[in-house]
């Protein structure tokens, strides 16, 4: 277990270093924030002066080394647009992103997994077929459309919910549904496939022959075995939800990381983008390690150190 963790940790550091290098140089290829910061009437000399203040006049390699040096001290630098530390910006956004991802995951799992189970167990039932159609339709709606539609119906016409922005839990309902609908179908499909796979296995037939009830088989045997692919997908979907909330956050004026990322990319606010990308890489790598550990808990036959028991 320890050697596994150490190995994964080493891999994670190398991967993060690669991501940091890649995002640093990729961004520098795409232009210069100075032009966006000054009024139109700024002369070339004004622009040059601004660039010097921001430190963008230094050779690229010098900028890169100073970025790495800062990073080693866990200093993500300062936003050139907002004039505050990048860590302040990210820290103010993370809670909102987590809230939204959590709400969306609740919607996605809460509907997706039961629907997947229904689809696997009652394949020929017209109700489960109708459910499958609904799930597909929900996933097919683009968020910018379903989001605005929800706002028009529930906030403008019915006045049940606030149209946008943050506040109490009522503000979280529509954004969570809009975002959760996208992953719901994935959960339904994976659950269905995993259950069907397991249902056709010998141990299920044996258990049935032994006279075990359908419910017992489902709870005792199937749930654990079918959970493994679902956990894998959940880990992937969480990274997706954290990263893919840009449109939902924009439509609902939800101050999450996606929104600030897009704004920072457009403004060429390099250091903020770097910070968010590094955080994203960190979370994705972390979730994958976590999923590996969860496998071994759900299914003890999977050993983390690769040594057979």
């Amino acid at each position: 277990m320890r050697s596994f963790l150490l190995r994964r940790l080493g891999q994670a550091v190398v991967t993060l270093f690669g991501v940091a290098t890649l995002i640093f140089f990729l961004q520098r290829l795409t232009g210069d924030p100075t032009y966006l910061l000054v009024p139109e009437t700024a002369t070339p000399a004004d622009i040059e002066a601004m660039r010097r203040t921001l430190g963008f006049d230094r050779p690229l390699i010098v900028q890169y080394l100073s970025f790495l040096a800062d990073l080693a001290r866990f200093d993500l630098g300062r936003s050139v647009v907002q004039n505050v530390p990048v860590s302040t910006i990210i820290a103010s956004r993370v809670p909102y992103t987590l809230m939204l991802a959590g709400g969306a995951l609740l919607v996605a799992c809460g509907i997706g997994i039961p629907v997947g189970i229904a689809l696997a167990l009652w394949r020929e039932n017209p109700v489960s077929r109708a459910l499958a159609g609904l799930v597909l339709a929900a996933q097919s709606m683009p968020t910018f459309w379903s989001g605005i539609l929800m706002i028009m119906v529930f906030a403008v016409t019915l006045r049940w919910l606030p149209p946008s922005s943050t506040g109490g839990v009522e503000h979280l309902i529509m954004p969570s549904i809009a975002l959760g609908l996208l992953s719901m179908a994935t959960f339904a499909r994976i659950t269905r496939t995993a259950l069907l796979d397991e249902l056709s296995k010998d141990y299920v037939r044996t258990a049935r022959a032994r006279g075990a009830s359908r419910r017992w088989i489902l709870v005792r045997h199937l749930a654990r075995n079918a959970a493994i692919p679902v956990i894998t997908v959940a880990a992937l979907e969480i990274s997706n939800l954290l990263a893919g909330a840009v449109i939902v956050e924009t439509v609902f004026a939800w101050p999450g990381l996606g929104q600030v990322t897009v704004q920072s990319i457009l403004a060429r606010d390099f250091l903020v983008v770097q910070g968010v990308v590094l955080l994203g890489a960190f979370v994705t790598i972390g979730l994958n390690v976590l999923a590996d550990i969860l496998y071994s808990i759900v299914d003890p036959r999977i050993r983390l150190d690769g040594v057979a028991r």
């Binding site: 009437t41 070339p44 002066a49 601004m50 910006i89 103010s92 609740l106 403008v156 943050t166 808990i297």
Partner: protein, 501 residues
């Protein structure tokens, strides 16, 4: 399942922090304004964008201001006197106190000028004020500014000079001041929830016209459709940056209305005369005749904007009536293109960026194609667009669409940078025009300046380095009960708004 437990714990954690935040709801005691983004900074000297100055211009007073009619009017300075061509003396109000209770003195004005003009400070607004070479308190309530030559647009620039308290900025430093600004304006800073909202509170001790709303909130709502929905649902009172379709949507709402105003922003096409086919003046003229400005405004823009014959608007110093400019005449355009022959067929790159209305750009492309030109739209992001637009005649695109505002309502901030050879924006080389632009910059005599600008407008109409299109309108959405007259300089002064009874 352990994974499920983990998720639930996460959600609970998130929900807990959600309750810590009070919901924003519009009401008569509090004005809720939806901006596009949150202010990037509230220190008035360290940024330049509307979402910031919409907010901080209520926290700070400027040296001068513009009244609702657009005329330059006293604010912190009550009067001013030109001592010589390069020296001007301002009398400073003696009844102004900052929000911390300290009196505003000429020293604060001097400090504000030297702070923003210090190249080491690195203000993006440096170019608006760097003609000022000196500032000194010349008496108990006077400040003398020195410029590096006669500078006719000085007063128009000082409309944007916010006065910051020297004692606070020096005591707390740039970063802390940015996060907790102290000004002398009609509203004082109450709090800033990053990414969510900035809250202001009325300054009951304000020296001038006091605000009608006890509190105001500025929120970031990036999607225009959401800003409209917020107005319709009554959860905001004012929203910025709507287009004509959204304005039409608000017209049918029972709660909100569109408020449109013609700004000092001019939409234009810029031609690069050093690149084919625009090295041929006839092909440039063909572009001027080919564009149906009225058609763009009525057909695409919803009728809010206004066609202009010259590269200015009626709210600029330097606007002249009666300049003979090419009017829409597709037959003439076709004839000019035919006259140029094969040379006119060179591919024209029409540069644009996502912030502009692409329907306008596509309509222009169509109009130019109709008269026989070969136009290809080249869209790039704003940073790349701006960089290339200022890179000099060899690399400036052969044609670009843009919207210009100097935020100074003076020709010197518009046609000088677009035409004069010293500017990165200029791809045009004309000694006569350069001399006229320099002459207009070097005198304080307004009639002489206008005479010079008139000649420049005539050169532009004949030589077509630019095709002025229209004076841009901006459309706000406002709650029915809100009374406000938006101004051409895109400011949002809360103490000039009121509830209608």
């Amino acid at each position: 399942m352990k994974s499920a437990r983990l998720f639930i714990a996460g959600v609970a954690l998130g929900a807990l922090s959600a309750f810590a935040i009070g919901p924003a709801q519009a009401g008569r005691d509090r004005l809720v304004v939806d901006l596009v983004n949150e202010p990037s900074s509230l220190d008035p000297h360290v940024q330049w964008n509307p979402d910031s100055y919409y907010v901080y211009r209520n926290i700070f007073d400027n040296l001068l201001t513009r009244d609702d009619a657009g005329n330059i009017a006293p604010q912190i300075a009550t009067s001013w006197k030109q001592l010589s061509d390069t020296e001007i003396e301002f009398t400073i109000r003696d009844d102004v106190t900052f929000h911390d209770g300290r009196k505003l003195t000429p020293e604060d004005v001097v400090y504000s000028v030297t702070r923003i003009t210090d190249p080491k400070f690195g203000s993006p607004q440096l170019g608006q004020f760097n003609k000022i070479t000196g500032a000194q308190a010349s008496g108990p309530n006077t400040v003398k500014l020195t410029t590096d030559g006669p500078y006719p647009a000085l007063l128009a620039q000082l409309v944007k000079l916010s006065i910051v308290p020297k004692h606070v900025v020096e005591a707390v430093g740039k970063d802390a001041f940015n996060q907790k600004p102290v000004g002398s304006g009609p509203y004082l800073f109450e709090g800033w929830q990053r990414g969510v909202q900035v809250a202001l509170k009325r300054n009951d001790a304000y020296w001038g016209p006091k605000g009608k709303f006890p509190a105001a909130i500025f929120r970031a709502v990036p999607d225009a459709a959401t800003r409209v929905a917020n107005l319709q649902a009554g959860s905001s009172d004012l929203g910025v940056s709507l287009d004509s379709d959204q304005a039409a949507q608000l017209k049918s709402s029972s709660r909100a209305k569109p408020l449109a105003v013609l700004t000092e922003r001019v939409a234009y096409l810029r031609l690069n005369p050093s690149k084919p086919p625009f090295d041929n003046a006839d092909v440039r003229r063909a572009v001027a005749y080919a564009v149906d400005k009225e058609g763009l405004i009525e057909g695409v823009l919803g009728g809010y904007d206004k066609a202009v014959p010259i590269m200015l608007t009626p709210v600029h110093v330097g606007w002249v009536e009666g300049v003979k400019a090419p009017a829409y005449d597709p037959a003439k355009a076709k004839a000019l293109v035919a006259k140029a022959g094969a040379a006119a067929k060179a591919e024209i790159e029409l540069a644009t960026a996502p912030v502009f209305d692409q329907r306008v750009v596509q309509a222009v492309q169509q109009m130019l194609t109709d008269v026989g030109l070969n136009v290809k739209i080249a869209m790039s992001d704003m940073a790349s667009y701006l960089k290339r637009a200022q890179s000099g005649p060899e690399t400036v695109p052969s044609l670009s669409f843009g919207r210009w505002s100097c935020a100074c309502q003076d020709a010197d901030g518009v046609i000088f940078p677009l035409l004069h050879k010293s500017s990165g924006w200029s791809a045009y080389r004309n000694t006569k025009a350069d001399e006229l632009l320099e002459a207009a910059r070097a005198t304080l005599d307004e009639s002489k300046r206008i005479a010079a600008y008139k000649q420049v407008h005539e050169i532009v109409a004949d030589e077509v380095p630019l095709v002025p299109l229209y004076q841009s309108a901006i459309i706000y959405g406002a709650a029915n009960a809100l009374q406000w007259k938006p101004t051409p300089n895109e400011s949002m002064f809360l103490n000039r708004m009121d509830w209608k009874d």
